[in-house]
Amino acid sequence: MDKALQLQQALQDTLGDLVESMTLALGEITVVVDSARYLPVMQALRDAPGLQFDELIDLCGMDYSEYGNAAWKGPRFAVVTHLLSLLHNWRVRVRVFVPEAANVVIASVTEIWPAANWFEREAFDLYGILFDGHPDLRRILTDYGFIGHPFRKDFPVSGYVEVRYDEEQKRVVYQPVTIEPRELTPRVIREDDYGRR
């Protein structure tokens, strides 16, 4: 039996109703989980004998606010995790949409996979997603004292501040950016039958 179908069956058997949806596309399985059931599902993915995803390969934040041409309905932020099982040699992708509230909070999986530590710090730094239960949620990639979450779609590519050396004050100073972002090739989404009529 095809590996992906076999995995789909195993996921179906173990997780059953715990997941919102499970899709098989391009040979990859994507599982969408409700944020309330996120931790139990992740725990099961690692520990259930038929699954045993013993390695967390990647965890990243997502900002869906500008997805597609139509306005995005549903929660803006998501956390996408890629898991790998060395034993069974298969992969799965788990997506959990972070509920919209005053703070963007989701449970941390560092207890399950210690490897998630820096990946969650990165998602916090770049998207402002807070991970409940993370032991050390500090910024990781941006500058000390950086303000904002740069990978959100409403954050300009050029940023808000720049640094330069000030000859009079004899030190490096921050100032508002003096460049404007240019878009050489516009972003376009064509209709489905574009160029085929």
Binding site: M62, V80, L141, V157
Partner: protein, 417 residues
């Protein structure tokens, strides 16, 4: 009795053995490290954010600049993800060329690593030797793409062009006589494949030289054996991949387990460590160099006898040949569209991973049907490896921290992205 307090020191961000711009906060008890807190991000260029503003083709050169000692492997991960989303097939010859250059890249990376690690531990000479070999490999890059490092050679749909029939040659200068130049050009008379074959003939001897210098060297062993031990269970929990995982004794290599391109048709072995210390990781990487050499030889043999296209003929993705473009209106339109607007990728998401020299290099692309990625996430192996630094250096001396940093094989281009 005086009260003894732990001492905290700052290491980096400008330090020769930090392999770039790593800042470490080390908490010391005497000379023994109690805690290490790596601060990264000094080389953060927001590649992933920039990629959202560039077309798929424009993003290829950004990949070179991630892990800047294994350039083509990064491109490979990216083009695989794009090709998966597009659902296009790559000509067989292009696949062999990619595999061959992946392995050449692996050699370049491991040579760089070996030289730097030896330098960290105090052996100056190895660095000079490994860079001598890297020079030949850079020449291969140059011959095939025109650039010695940032090649942008792999493209969605294949590779940019076929292997050249001639090698660039040295010219006579005021400091190099004609005789010296002709000696240097001796192995550059034939095609690129001839040059690479000549290299693969010489290379195992070079690896023997490095091993003579290091493997049984008493100082080398004193500095590496039992330093930075990671058990297989720890390695899995910490998200290790590549030589770091294999050094701990887990037999896992994407080239064998989840073969991409033509790796399933090639004959090579996977070296695995026993103790999971820095020395085992050294042995694993050295053996990998020998195996890469074998793979390159097999690719050369195949490429010699199988001419063919190196780029897909789907002109919606890859540019049409120049000659067709001059004569055909359709091809001209394709060309114009490709290089102004770029090709569109169907909505969806894909994750493609390759066995990079440092570990699993993965690219996760989310597309909403536009000519630019909606989200591009780069899974850099070094990122996962470096976060476990605290586990590895705890209880070791300061000097061992340098050894361990070296054995992780860090490059900040990919960690900070």
């Amino acid at each position: 009795m005086a009260e003894i307090k732990n001492y905290t020191i700052n290491f980096g961000p400008q330090h020769p053995s930090a392999h770039g711009v790593l800042r470490l906060i080390l908490e010391l008890d005497g000379e023994v490290i109690q805690r290490a807190d790596p601060h990264i991000g000094f080389l953060h260029r927001a590649t992933e954010k920039l990629a959202e503003t560039k077309t798929y083709l424009q993003n290829v050169p950004y990949m070179d600049r991630l892990d800047y000692v294994s350039m083509m492997c990064n491109e490979h991960g990216y083009v695989l993800a794009v090709e998966k989303l597009l659902g296009i097939n790559v000509p067989e010859r292009a696949q062999y060329i990619r595999v061959m250059f992946d392995e050449i890249t692996r050699l370049m990376n491991h040579l760089m690593w070996l030289g730097a690690q030896a330098l960290d531990v105090g052996a100056m000479a190895v660095f000079l030797y490994t860079f001598r070999e890297r020079e030949d490999l850079f020449d291969c890059y140059e011959a095939v793409s025109g650039a010695r490092m940032h090649a942008a050679y792999y493209r969605p749909g294949g590779v940019y062009r076929d292997l050249p029939d001639t090698m660039p040659q040295y010219g006579e200068t005021t400091v190099r006589s004609a005789k010296e130049v002709s000696e240097r050009n001796a192995n550059r008379q034939g095609s690129l494949l001839d040059f690479i074959e000549d290299f693969t003939n010489r290379f195992p001897g070079y690896v023997d030289e490095y091993e003579t210098l290091l493997t049984d060297n008493r100082i080398w062993k004193q500095r590496l054996v039992n330093v930075g031990v990671i058990t297989p269970e720890q390695a899995k929990a910490l998200g290790y991949t590549g030589p770091m995982l294999r050094g701990s004794g887990v037999e896992w290599d994407l080239r064998k387990k989840q073969p991409y391109e033509v790796y399933d048709r090639l004959d090579f072995a996977i070296p695995v460590g026993v103790n999971g210390d820095s020395y085992d990781r050294y042995l694993v990487r050295v053996e990998e160099m020998r195996q890469s050499n074998r793979i390159i030889r097999q690719c050369i043999d195949w490429l010699r006898t199988h001419p063919g296209p190196v780029m897909t003929d789907d002109y919606k993705v890859a540019p049409p040949p120049r000659a067709k473009m001059k004569a055909g209106m359709e091809e001209l339109i394709h060309h114009f569209k490709l290089f102004s607007e770029g090709f569109h990728v169907p909505p969806g998401e894909a994750y493609a991973a390759i066995e990079g020299p440092k570990g699993e290099f993965g690219v996760y692309i989310v597309s909403d049907g536009a000519n630019k990625p909606y989200r591009l996430k780069i899974r850099a192996p070094g990122f996962a490896h470096l976060q476990s630094l605290n586990e590895m250096v705890k209880g070791h001396m300061i000097a061992d921290a340098v050894t361990i940093l070296g054995s992780i094989d860090l490059v900040f281009g990919e960690i900070d992205r």
